[in-house]
Subunit: 246 residues, 2 copies
C-alpha cells in the first residue's frame, strides 16, 4: 500500500509518519508533502492508495487538494486530520467526496487510539469514519430548519467578500430582489432581528449585512481560509465575465 501524508506542521508530520509506519504493516511507500500544492503534485506522481490530509495549510487548503486528487483518482482513501470541525471545512468536504469513496474526518485532539482506529478503518477496511463532533456539525448543516441551504450559504460567502446585492445578482444570475430574499432568509436563520436589536433611541444597533458575516465567523460557519478560497473563485469569475463583455 502506498501512502501520502500532507501536513505542514513538522511535529505533526513526523508524528503521523511514526504512527502510520507502526500501525500499517503493509506500507510499501510513504511520501510526505508540506502543503496542498505539493500534495497534489506528489499524489499525481506516486498514485498513493491512501492519504492523510491536514486541512489548514498554506498555498492550498486540504479541501482543495482533496478535490483535485479525487478528480484524478476517485478511489483514493483520504483521512482528514484537522484541528477544528469548522462548518466551512465540513461543508466543503461533503461537497467533493466522490460517490462510494471512503474517507474519514478526525480531530487532532483525538486520542492516538482513535487515530489508529481511523487509519485502520478508512485505509484497510475502507469504511467511512467521521468524528463525533464533526458528525454533529454535518447533521446540523444537513438539517434544513437549523442549517443554511446552499443558496443561503452562497450569499453569505458573497457578502463576506464585500459584494453588493447588484454584483451578487449578476454573478449568480438571479434578480436583485432574489438576492435580497436570500439575504433575508440568511439573516433570520442567523437570529438577526432588526426590530429587537434597537438602541434606546430606536435606531438599529447592527448592520445586518456585516453582523451576519460576524456571526458566521463566531459560529465557525466560515473562516479565514474559506474567504481566501472564495476570493479566488470570485476573481476568476470577474475576469471571465469582463472578457466576454468586451
Amino acid at each position: 500500500m502506498r501512502i501520502l501524508i500532507v501536513e505542514d506542521d513538522v511535529l505533526h508530520r513526523s508524528f503521523l509518519r511514526e504512527v502510520v509506519e507502526r500501525e500499517l504493516p503493509d506500507v510499501t511507500e510513504l511520501t510526505e508533502a508540506q502543503n496542498g500544492d505539493e500534495g497534489i503534485a506528489l499524489a499525481a506522481k506516486h498514485r498513493p492508495d491512501a492519504i492523510v490530509m491536514d486541512l489548514q495549510m498554506p498555498n492550498r487548503t486540504g479541501v482543495e487538494a482533496a478535490r483535485a486528487i479525487w478528480r484524478q483518482e476517485p478511489e483514493t482513501r483520504i483521512l482528514f486530520w484537522s484541528n477544528y470541525a469548522d462548518e466551512a471545512y465540513v461543508r466543503g468536504i461533503s461537497r467533493i467526496v466522490p460517490p462510494g469513496a471512503s474517507y474519514g474526518y478526525i480531530l487532532k485532539s483525538a486520542s492516538e487510539d482513535r487515530l489508529k482506529l481511523a487509519l485502520q478503518g478508512v485505509f484497510v477496511e475502507e469504511q467511512c469514519i467521521i468524528d463525533r463532533t464533526v458528525r454533529g456539525v454535518q447533521q446540523r448543516a444537513d438539517d434544513r430548519l437549523q442549517g443554511l441551504t446552499d443558496a443561503e450559504y452562497e450569499v453569505l460567502i458573497d457578502i463576506a467578500l464585500g459584494l453588493t446585492d447588484r454584483t451578487i445578482s449578476r454573478r449568480r444570475g438571479i434578480s436583485l430582489r432574489s438576492v435580497q430574499s436570500r439575504l433575508q432568509a440568511l439573516y433570520e436563520k442567523l437570529g438577526l432581528d432588526q426590530d429587537t436589536d434597537r438602541d434606546p433611541d430606536g435606531a438599529a444597533i447592527y448592520n445586518s449585512r456585516s453582523r451576519a458575516v460576524s456571526i458566521a465567523f463566531l459560529r465557525r460557519l466560515v473562516n479565514g481560509k474559506a474567504i481566501e478560497a472564495a476570493e479566488l473563485d470570485y476573481q476568476t469569475w470577474a475576469e471571465a465575465t469582463s472578457k466576454t463583455a468586451t
Copy 2:
C-alpha cells in the same frame, strides 16, 4: 527558575517541555496549561519567572492570557510561539507589553535552533527576540502612512462586529460624522475606491463596509480570534451601558 508552558496542542506541548528541559538547566519547576484560562490560573498559582505561550488557543487567546498575567506580574518573561504573524496578534501584543519587560515572538516554523536561542535570550539574558517576519509586520503597523492608526483599527473592528455607524459613535463617544470620517480613512488605506470599482452599468461592485472587512481578513489585519475577543469586549460594554441607562 520556574517555567510555565501554555499550549493547547499535545505534540507541541510535549516538544516544548522536552526542549525546555534540555536547554535550560536551572529549571526548578515546569508547569503546563492547555489553554489561556488555565494559563492565567496556573500563573497566579505558581508565579513562574518565564512563560512559553501559544497564541491560538480555545477559551482565551495567548494575548489575553499574557495581558492578565503581566497585569499581575509585569516582570514575567514571555516567549510567544505561534503559527502565524497575523497583524491582529502583533498589534495586540505590542499594545500590552509592560515597559521594560522582556519578551519574544517566534514562529513555529522556525528551526529548533532558533527556538533554543530565543529561550536562552528571552528567559536568561532578558533580551527581546522578535522573529524577522514578525518584525516586518510590526514595522508596517507602526508606519502611519501604510499602516492603520489606532482609531482606524478600532473602527475596523467595530464594523467587523457588524455595528452600525450610530452604535459605533455611541460606543466610542464621537459623533456620527466622525465615525464616517474614520471609515473613509480606513477605506482609503485599504485601497478601496468607489469610483473605480464599478461594473459595466456604472453601479458599485463592492459594499465598502463589508469589503473592508474582507480585505482585512485577506491581509491578516484581523482574524477569527480577534473577532471573538472583540465581541466579548463589545458585549461587556453593551451590558454596562444598558444598566446605566436604566
